[in-house]
């Protein structure tokens, strides 16, 4: 009789609990996998968006030249315009 009770408990309680727990782990792993795929796409897009960062060097050079031209222009204005 005790053997029957143990067998029934094992079959009715333990097996479903094990199955539910394992299914939860599998579902979580699948959700993580989907999230990783989205992160992968976002990282690729972000990397592509940063391609123009390399042009910052050109921007720095041009800003430097522009400020130099403005300085020269300011010197000319200082000469031709009266002070307040």
């Amino acid at each position: 009789m005790l053997g029957w009770i143990g067998a029934i408990v094992l079959l009715v309680v333990v097996v479903p609990v094990v199955v539910v727990l394992l299914k939860g782990v599998l579902d979580a792993a699948r959700r993580v996998s989907a999230a990783v795929e989205q992160v992968e796409a976002a990282a690729k897009a972000a990397s592509a968006d940063l391609d123009a960062v390399e042009l910052l060097g050109t921007t720095r050079t041009q800003v430097n030249q522009t400020v130099g031209v403005v300085a020269n222009y300011g010197g000319s204005l200082d000469t031709i315009l009266d002070d307040a």
Partner: protein, 244 residues
């Protein structure tokens, strides 16, 4: 074998099968996650590499722009004054005048500059530019032509006594000397015709006005002699005697 034992064995087998199936599924999912993370790590590394010089470059750009801003603000303060300078900035960039005052350590209301900055317009006029400030809208063709700036300027700045558009800006220099096509006071006709030239009232004005340059005395041994012409001022009584 007891039937209960058979059922127990069957339950254990089911448990093991469930473990195998789900754990294999988890393993497969974890492998996919690992592969995805490898790709993500590569992309993130690329992002890090691309953004590495951003701080340095942006700081350098900010420093350059700050220097330019200080230069222009200083020039504006010098030329427009401490009151008009922030007002001019405020009229172009709302809020910029207050910020300029704060950068100078001052506070208070910013002077309101109207549409036309009179002092600036006066400066432009003083420089010979008929200031177009406030004269019209910004629509239409540009005031200055980059290729034909001289023509554009002549169309802008009227000069009634100046040459017309397309004409020579200045008349040619006159030919002077003996080879000139027309000599002032020269005899144009025969010997009987009186020489042309102005008549001078010696009694009314300064006699020096009518003094005619006399040729320098020929020096002994001089190679060249200056050729002179009588400009026909006539003579006055006593000149002959003075000449003698």
């Amino acid at each position: 074998m007891d039937a209960a034992a058979v059922v127990t064995v069957l339950a254990v087998v089911l448990i093991i099968l469930a473990l195998v199936v789900f754990l294999v599924g988890v393993i497969l999912e974890l492998r996919k996650i690992t592969a995805g993370l490898d790709v993500v790590i590569g992309a993130v590394g690329e992002i890090l590499r691309k953004t590495e010089p951003v701080n340095e470059v942006v700081h350098a750009i900010n420093a350059d722009l700050g220097a330019g801003t200080e230069l222009l603000e200083g020039l504006l303060l010098k030329k427009a004054g401490p009151e008009d300078g922030p007002g001019l900035v405020e009229s172009v960039f709302p809020g910029g005048g207050t910020a300029m005052l704060e950068r100078e350590g001052r506070s208070g209301p910013v002077k309101n500059i109207d549409v036309v900055y009179t002092r600036g317009a006066v400066q432009l006029v003083r420089l010979g530019r008929e200031s177009p400030l406030g004269a019209g809208g910004e629509a239409g063709p540009a005031l200055r032509d980059a290729e034909y700036s001289s023509t554009a300027a002549r169309s802008l700045y009227s000069n009634p006594t100046g040459p017309e558009a397309g004409a020579r800006s200045r008349p040619g220099s006159p030919t002077i000397g003996s080879g000139a096509p027309a000599v002032f006071g020269s005899v144009t006709g025969g010997a009987d015709e009186p020489p042309t030239g102005p008549t001078v009232d010696l009694d009314a004005g300064d006699a020096a006005d009518a003094t005619v340059d006399q040729p320098p005395a020929a020096k002994p041994g001089a190679k060249d002699e200056v050729e002179t012409k009588d400009i026909g001022l006539g003579s006055r009584p006593g000149d002959e005697q003075a000449a003698e």
